[in-house]
């Protein structure tokens, strides 16, 4: 598991290569790599966004991300996982977050990657502030993100590993 909260940008190809550990034994067991990159959009809720500032809670953030990945590892058969989240001032089209999940099976890789993103959005202590032509504004949490998380909890009640 690799967890990083950083101001600097990340290189998706390099992170994927690192996770695969080119040339090691683990590498050739991996059959599937699912990944997600979140980017700063130039529009949100009808306003242009020129700067997105990400605040976080140092210490708790890394702990929360590690707990989410550990939970994913207990639900699916994973061979590796990388989560990188940037903080500080970002511009439209900048990369914000990267999740990479490796597994033998494509279904496991896809589900775990989406699970980690859903939980990250609702449980990891990051906050977004946008600069728009009308000034600064804090981004509101979305009901759709809470709904996205709740479907994994229903699955757990139905008998999957919690």
């Amino acid at each position: 598991m690799k967890i990083s909260v950083q101001t600097t940008d990340f290189d998706v190809g390099a992170e994927m290569a690192e996770l695969r550990g080119a040339g090691t034994n683990i590498g050739a067991h991996i059959g599937a790599i699912a990944s997600f990159v979140g980017l700063v959009r130039d529009m949100n809720d009808g306003s242009g966004v020129s700067t997105l500032t990400l605040e976080h809670y140092p210490g708790m953030t890394e702990k929360a991300l590690a707990a989410i990945v550990t939970q994913a590892e207990s639900r699916w058969e994973l061979l590796g996982c990388t989560v990188i989240h940037r903080v500080g001032d970002l511009k439209p089209a900048d990369q914000i977050v990267l999740v990479i999940v490796a597994s033998s099976h494509r279904g496991h890789a896809f589900e775990a990657c989406e699970f980690i993103m859903d939980y990250l959005k609702t449980q990891a202590p990051f906050w977004k502030k946008e600069l728009t032509p009308q000034g600064h504004r804090w981004v509101d949490s979305r009901d759709s993100d809470a709904a996205a998380v709740s479907r994994w909890q229903v699955s757990a009640q139905e008998g999957k590993i919690n």
Binding site: Y57, M60, I96, P125, V139, S141
Partner: protein, 83 residues
């Protein structure tokens, strides 16, 4: 004493990011919030029952029932919006 941290919009509306406060009686999160609300309008408004705020104790999400002890780190913040 408790080490209280404030983040994001709560940090801005309360005008503080960190404070040391005495352990409340009873020693739990609910009592701490009640004490903070007594500090004035900005506090009672920001921490109103119908406002959406979250509390973490020693970096784990907590509820109003969560117990507190000397030296705990208590963070108060709005719902998270990362990703």
């Amino acid at each position: 004493m408790l080490n209280i941290l404030f983040f994001a919009s709560l940090r801005e509306s309360l005008g503080t990011s960190q404070e040391s406060v005495a352990l409340p009686t009873p020693a739990n999160v609910g009592a701490l919030i009640s004490e903070l609300r007594k500090r004035g309008d900005a506090w009672s408004s920001a921490l109103a029952v119908d406002k959406r705020w979250r509390v973490a104790v020693n970096q784990d999400m907590s509820t109003l029932d969560t117990s507190l002890k000397e030296g705990d780190e208590v963070a108060i913040f709005p719902p998270v919006t990362g990703g």
